[in-house]
């Protein structure tokens, strides 16, 4: 076990208020850093308000959702999912498990799929949040149209989540294979069993034609 007293890290300057700035501000340039323990500095920093704890009661939280600024007031323990659904009026994202296992709550954070149920609203500030409501301001997207046409849903409870992940896929990979689509969907569960049609819809939206027709044999039956 090696001790590294330099408190190193990748050599990138931090933006903003540094320990050194603080020391200079305290007029301690004449005092060696070793004499002032890091703990004391940190405690002083905390006291000076540079890092102010928020909560546990309700605090102002500003979220950028679907391109709009939403000013909310909520406790730090409120999840992003709850904030969206009960305070921002955006009920598209659903709570089905609350434990980051089913994908029904999926939103995009800076374009990347994330589970809103396991994100704190207060921690999602400074992120661009996209919900399903933000996708179709100008009518259904090609993915949404394909989901409708190919019946990529049944009860629909899981559907907004799938739409979010597949929307992110369409933006990072315009020509996905079925394996890519399955991977993009791998954080989602559908109890009604719509996966095959979801895959087909994602591929169709990407311009891949497949044999999606339903096979119906009329009686007397014959297999073509």
């Amino acid at each position: 076990m090696k001790k590294d007293p330099s408190n190193g890290g990748p050599k990138n300057p931090s933006s903003g208020f540094t320990r050194r700035d603080f020391l200079i501000g305290l007029g301690t340039t004449a005092v060696s850093a070793a004499a002032l323990s890091a703990r004391a500095v940190a405690a002083d920093l905390a006291r000076s308000g540079a890092e102010e704890p928020q909560g546990p009661g309700p605090v102002p939280v500003t979220l950028r959702v679907n391109g709009e600024r939403r000013a909310l007031v909520l406790e730090p323990r409120v999840t992003l999912l709850e904030a969206l659904r009960t305070q921002a009026g955006l009920t598209g994202a659903k709570e089905a498990c609350g434990r980051a296992t089913c994908g029904a709550c999926t939103v995009l954070l800076d374009g990347k799929p994330a589970y809103a149920c396991t994100t704190l609203a207060i921690d999602a500030q400074h992120r661009e949040i996209t919900t399903v409501e933000g996708l179709s301001r100008n009518g259904l997207t090609p993915l949404q149209k394909a989901m409708v046409e190919l019946d990529g849903l049944q009860c629909g409870y899981c559907t907004p989540g799938f739409v979010m992940s597949l929307t992110a896929l369409s933006e990072t990979n315009p020509s996905p294979t079925e394996a890519d689509v399955r991977k993009a969907c791998s954080g989602h569960l559908c109890r009604c069993g719509s996966y095959p049609n979801v895959f087909a819809a994602a591929l169709r939206a990407a311009g891949k034609t497949g044999d999606d027709a339903v096979t119906v044999l009329q009686s007397p039956d014959a297999l073509a």
């Binding site: 406790e75 409120v78 709850e82 659904r85 009920t91 598209g92 994202a93 659903k94 709570e95 089905a96 498990c97 609350g98 434990r99 296992t101 089913c102 029904a104 919900t131 399903v132 409501e133 996708l135 179709s136 259904l140 949404q144 989901m147 409708v148 019946d151 990529g152 849903l153 049944q154 009860c155 629909g156 409870y157 899981c158 559907t159 907004p160 739409v163 399955r182 991977k183 791998s186 989602h188 569960l189 559908c190 109890r191 009604c192 069993g193 719509s194 996966y195 095959p196 049609n197 979801v198 895959f199 027709a213 339903v214 096979t215 119906v216 044999l217 009329q218 009686s219 039956d221 297999l223």
Partner: protein, 701 residues
């Protein structure tokens, strides 16, 4: 009154009416009903698997910040009979307030001995689950023909012990309600399969007139049989709303969904099956039990309680003896789950069929054709075997080379379905547009679209000109959505309403045939007020009884036990196919649920603490996208039989076909579902120190 021979809309694939709302997040489910001033609610549950509950102290909870009401589930001392049983509930201004308050509830309880394992529960001296009765009584066997004689004449007899675990519905939208009292009227939004059953349950539990209760279910996130009643959570929600004088939403969490809103009972079957040298079945003998939870088959709050199974299921056996029993354990009660009893019966029967076929050296499909009396299934096996490539692929069990072994299997199924009741109303507007109204539910089954298509066909208008309203107890009742009956109920009712509407329109307009080219002209003559016509379910448009066969192909890695499902092929009939697109989706759904039953799903109880160990999706494993095989569905359209249901038959044979495929691959059978890697490796003899099989413990007389 047959369906039209030439059909313009019925039988054509049609995207569902509600799909745009669902893909945009606009569809509102009960969880999304959040009126201003609404309170949130939560349930306090027993943390003992069995206990005398002496008293519940709500004082601190009531006084907690933001709390507006707190009630006990039942007054007075009572028992808790399973971990998670409802004891009390609170309502407050936020979920956080409710969560904090629940933790302030104090209970004085005397823990009691408990038992959660079926094989433990049937032993003499086991802790008593039912207060005034045994955990387990064995009724006499029921016998047809002469079983001993049948076995003595058999050229070959197979025997086996097959089991399947308790399976949970795990609808993605939890159970729950949003209930608001307005004067003497109560409005309830419910995630339900039966708006009228909720209405009447609410009315009865509060002693209020049924015509003062309205239940709305615009969209709901899955039921699978678990949402057919009002529920304890519904009653608590309504009581809190009344006590608080405010709307209350009470939705269960996934944890709670794992405990108390129903399940498919476990099954443990010891079976013997005998056949003559030509492979004709002669005798069947089954000794079985299963657990439907603490009430052991006494009718539950939501119906469909017991663990009995319809063995020997679809096969014709001249002599059959069946002895089966329900076992009580300290666990949540069963509820009907997609084809209740049938996947369990199918699994045992189809497994031993394959085992006997192997002993006789007869091809499994051929063996079934010799013993399956249903003509439709005979045809379906023919179509399916050819499409699947059965003859080319089939190899004797265990003969696939290499460490990753391939195997194939098949199974058949039957189900009733069919309709028999229900009403609908059709409104024709002066501008020619149409509205269909039906007090039915759409669980994801596509019933809205069924109503639209039938009306479009019968009125000969474009489907886009037909609006559909469902899911409201103010609408004409059409029955709860269970038993795969909804389409067969709606279809004829809407058919009849349309007939009546056309007749009325002809009368009003003086145009003898108002449909088609003269539709708009006729409608304009309606006048200011639209025309409405009622209809009722009529015989002749639907019927009962479907077949269905499925084939499965698997690869099994014999070094790791991992089962990779490669392909499922299904040939299914359901009479007249109203909408092939949504019909096929139902087939996918049933198959995928069967995949879960075969390979992943089991509710795990802990014998020491009595809790459910996997109350989440992390360790209660549902099939995910990556688990999907290629699924081929061939639907047989038989309009001459009218509409028959599809939702349930398609989940019955799936696990059986998969289990048979695994047995075919390995040459040994994993006879306990789910077929997880540990069980595969154990069956291959690669694991020592195993817990003794349940089958080694005798079933007490």
């Amino acid at each position: 009154m047959p369906w039209p021979k030439e059909r313009k809309y019925l039988g054509k694939p049609m995207p569902r009416v509600d799909a745009p709302d669902k893909v945009t997040g606009a569809a509102k489910y009960t969880t999304d009903v959040l009126p201003a001033g609404m309170l949130f609610a939560g349930i306090f549950r027993s943390s003992w698997p069995a206990a005398k509950i002496n008293s519940i102290d709500l004082a601190a909870a009531r006084a907690a910040p933001g709390i507006r009401a707190a009630v006990v589930a039942r007054e007075g001392p009572r028992r808790a009979r399973y971990y998670g049983e409802e004891l009390a509930a609170v309502a407050g201004v936020s979920r956080q307030a409710v969560e904090d308050a629940l933790r302030l509830i104090k209970v004085d309880a005397t823990p009691l001995p408990f038992v959660v394992d079926e094989m433990d529960a049937i032993q003499a001296g086991a802790p008593q689950v039912i207060e005034d009765g045994p955990n387990f009584t064995r009724p006499a066997a029921r016998e047809t023909g002469n079983v001993s004689e049948g076995f003595s004449r058999s050229a070959s007899v197979a025997s086996g012990a097959y089991s399947a675990a308790v399976e949970l519905h795990h609808c993605l939208e939890p159970h729950g309600n949003m209930i608001a009292w307005e004067g003497d009227q109560v409005n309830a939004w419910a995630s339900t399969q039966g708006v009228f059953s909720v209405r009447d349950g609410l009315a009865e539990s509060f002693g209020i007139p049924q015509n003062k209760v309205r239940v709305i279910c615009d969209h709901m996130g899955g039921g699978f049989g678990s949402k057919l009643g009002f529920g304890v959570e519904g009653a608590l929600c309504a009581r809190l709303a009344k006590a608080a004088g405010a709307p209350v939403q009470l939705m269960l969490t996934r944890f709670e969904e794992s405990l108390c809103v129903g399940n498919r009972p476990s099954t443990f079957q010891k079976i013997r099956l005998g056949a003559d040298k030509d492979g004709r079945l002669l005798a069947f003998d089954m000794d079985a039990l299963g657990s439907p939870g603490f009430a052991a088959g006494v009718s539950t709050a939501a119906g469909g309680g017991g663990a009995d199974i319809p063995s020997p299921f679809i096969y014709k056996v001249p002599s059959a003896r069946v002895r089966q029993a329900n076992v009580a354990v300290n666990a949540g009660s069963a509820r009907a789950m997609r084809a209740p009893g049938h996947p369990q019966a199918s699994f045992g029967m189809e497994s031993i069929m394959d085992d006997l076929a192997a002993k006789l050296g007869i091809d499994p499909v051929e063996f079934r054709l010799r013993n399956d009396p249903m003509e439709i299934r005979q045809r379906e096996y023919g179509i399916g075997a050819e499409k699947f490539g059965w003859k080319e692929k089939y190899r004797k069990p265990g003969s696939s080379p290499g460490p990753v072994k391939t195997g194939i299997g098949c199974a058949g199924a039957t189900w009733g379905g069919g309709g028999g009741r229900g009403q609908a109303e059709v409104q024709v507007n002066p501008d020619g547009t149409v509205e269909v109204r039906c007090g039915t539910q759409d669980l994801g089954t596509g019933s809205r679209t069924v109503a639209r298509l039938v009306a479009a066909e019968m009125l000969q208008v474009e489907p886009s000109g037909v609006a559909v309203r469902i899911g409201d107890s103010l609408l004409p009742p059409n029955g709860s959505s269970g038993g795969s009956t909804t389409t067969a109920n709606i279809g004829p009712a809407v058919f009849n309403a349309c007939e009546n509407a056309v007749a009325e329109l002809a009368r009003l307009s003086g145009i003898a045939e108002p449909r088609g080219g003269r539709w708009l002209e006729a409608c304009r003559k309606i006048g200011v007020n639209p025309l409405t016509a009622s209809g009722r379910w009529q015989p002749g448009l639907s019927s009962q009884g479907v077949g269905g066969v499925q084939f499965a192909e698997v690869d099994v890695d014999t070094e790791t036990g991992f089962v990779k499902l490669r392909r499922i092929l299904c040939v299914q009939d359901c009479g007249l196919i109203v909408n092939p697109l949504t019909c096929r989706s139902q087939v996918y759904g049933g198959i995928i649920m069967g995949i879960g039953y075969a390979l992943y799903e089991q509710r795990v109880m802990d014998r020491t603490s009595g809790v459910v160990l996997n109350p989440n999706f992390e360790t209660y494993k549902l099939p995910g996208p990556a688990d999907m095989p290629d699924i081929d569905v061939i639907l047989l359209d038989m309009p001459e039989r009218g509409i028959i249901g599809i939702g349930e038959p398609v989940t019955i044979p799936t696990a059986s076909a998969i289990a048979n495929a695994v047995a075919n691959a390995l040459g040994v059978r994993v006879s306990d579902l789910p077929i997880t890697p540990d069980r595969v490796l154990a069956a291959l003899g690669l694991v020592s120190g195993l817990r003794p099989s349940w089958a080694e413990r005798p079933i007490p007389a």
